[in-house]
Symmetry: C2
Subunit: 344 residues, 2 copies
Amino acid sequence: MSDPSLAHRPTLEAVAARAGVSRATASRVVNGSDGVRAPLAERVRRAVDELGYVPNQAARTLVTRRNDAIAVVVAEPETRFFSDPFFAQQVRGISKELTAHDNQLVLLLTEGAADYERVGRYLAGGHVDGALLFSLHDDDTLPGLARRAGVPTVIGGRPGWSDADTLYVDCDNRGGAREAVRHLLDGGRRRIAHIAGPLDQTASVDRLEGFRDALPGTDPGMIIEGDFTPEGGARAMADLLDRCPDLDAVFAASDVMASGALRVLRTRGVRVPEDVAMVGFDDIVSVAEWTDPPLTTIRQDIEEMGRMMARLLLRRVSPGPGQQESPALSSIVTPTQLVVRASA
Amino acid sequence: MSDPSLAHRPTLEAVAARAGVSRATASRVVNGSDGVRAPLAERVRRAVDELGYVPNQAARTLVTRRNDAIAVVVAEPETRFFSDPFFAQQVRGISKELTAHDNQLVLLLTEGAADYERVGRYLAGGHVDGALLFSLHDDDTLPGLARRAGVPTVIGGRPGWSDADTLYVDCDNRGGAREAVRHLLDGGRRRIAHIAGPLDQTASVDRLEGFRDALPGTDPGMIIEGDFTPEGGARAMADLLDRCPDLDAVFAASDVMASGALRVLRTRGVRVPEDVAMVGFDDIVSVAEWTDPPLTTIRQDIEEMGRMMARLLLRRVSPGPGQQESPALSSIVTPTQLVVRASA
């Protein structure tokens, strides 16, 4: 322990002496190891308490206020987290950026929203310097829990509220959706349907707005809500075909939903793009290049957005050298790009 | 703070008074928030130090010695972690078990072994009560780092060393491999090759031993080392076909490698199972049921093994009620099971 401000703190040796045990035994108790008999462990804990002993790392953290660790919390159950390649790509960018700054990526997994209180307790426990939150839904309690925990955050995707303190990274969902529909219109399509994402998420709402910008007055029966899964895309496509058998194009709010929709079209003998053209959103290469036919889509640079989120949060957590406070930081909205493949 | 042993600890109010700032300002500094001017923050830190103030959570942890959080560290780069469905399945079991015990799953991701020192620092930082380590390689420094950090561990897969303190959960890799080869022999196959996993991992070594048990004296040219990826399986299969054009069966040490090998056989016009039979290992349903033809394999219950690892670690971390020390715990080796599909 070279930090001079810690020099007068009680040492582990002092704890051991007061408890009448060896340093090794005191160390095991303080470090939470097994195998020390309860009465001895109790004596050590009493000595810790009486002397006000703080283990090195906790003491160091108390002074530096840094753990060099950033939490990532995805507001989805782990099953969805592992099955949707979007998340792996975003985490990839975050991981690269945090590693470049020697910060540890701490991924907090949950089975569902019922576990958020526990995540909040972990965030409040002083184990991380900040948190990246993604895939928020309207009623998510995570941002409030993070705020009460006093942990600086950056949000992945525009949050459903806005205030000066909130920082986020998103792509231009509305502009991208407009471009998708214009590409279909330019190709001569006139009966264009939309498979939206879950409408309790801003990305879905913004993509729907972009669709409506390009096609004002669309029959509401041509718009159907999916859930960002292949199965949800397949269900939505089946419903659309039943409702509007004359549709000639679909804009799906994610590549993953588009892949499910393409499967239904193939099963029903509908030719893509001859009978129905399809445009997705995201450009997840492992999906869009492998659908049959390959998928025309709106590209967002998911990995780079992960890097941006991490960079923004690190700047929020650590003001630069010579700066007393964080610099003025702002949210980032990145452009999207049309990628034309065979489906439209 | 209801714990009476904490009653005499200095309060945040006392820190604020000593520093001559408001309680709110003191709280912001102690909680690591932004926006407190440096000289004020410095005064608060000095007061913290002089009074020996410990924030509630740290104080609570110091007394209870529990964070209700378990780390999971996979000794693979995050790219491999996200691309191999084996890990998602094992994490699924761990997540369910930890959630059932209201413990937080803390997944520590890395870009590679160069980041293990940082993982070791996080483990030593008192942020988790224990760690589950998997996919260890012979030269991995992770177990040593965890030991020095004083964090109780359970290992996924038999480790390359053995001592009384080490607990692990594994399947009967050797017995499973023997069963795979016997199934091929029973089907009349006589020129059986083996695509092994990376031989710096015990699972690969044990499966190779099982292969040799059933086929003593096999030509070493019929055994080739892969790397548990589809690409590695494909490369190994291509090499085997060049070396031993008369082979009539392959036992691949993982379903993922078998899927790559099947692709090469198809490309070369080799019929499965007519010309060459294939048996995998793992029974990862999302792989084995979808290969062409579907894959005969050796099943290990990966999700249940994740649950077992979590359960064993929680028992190691928290002795049961009325117990002064951890009960005697032992490593677990689960049986495997042949699952016959079309490939053999």
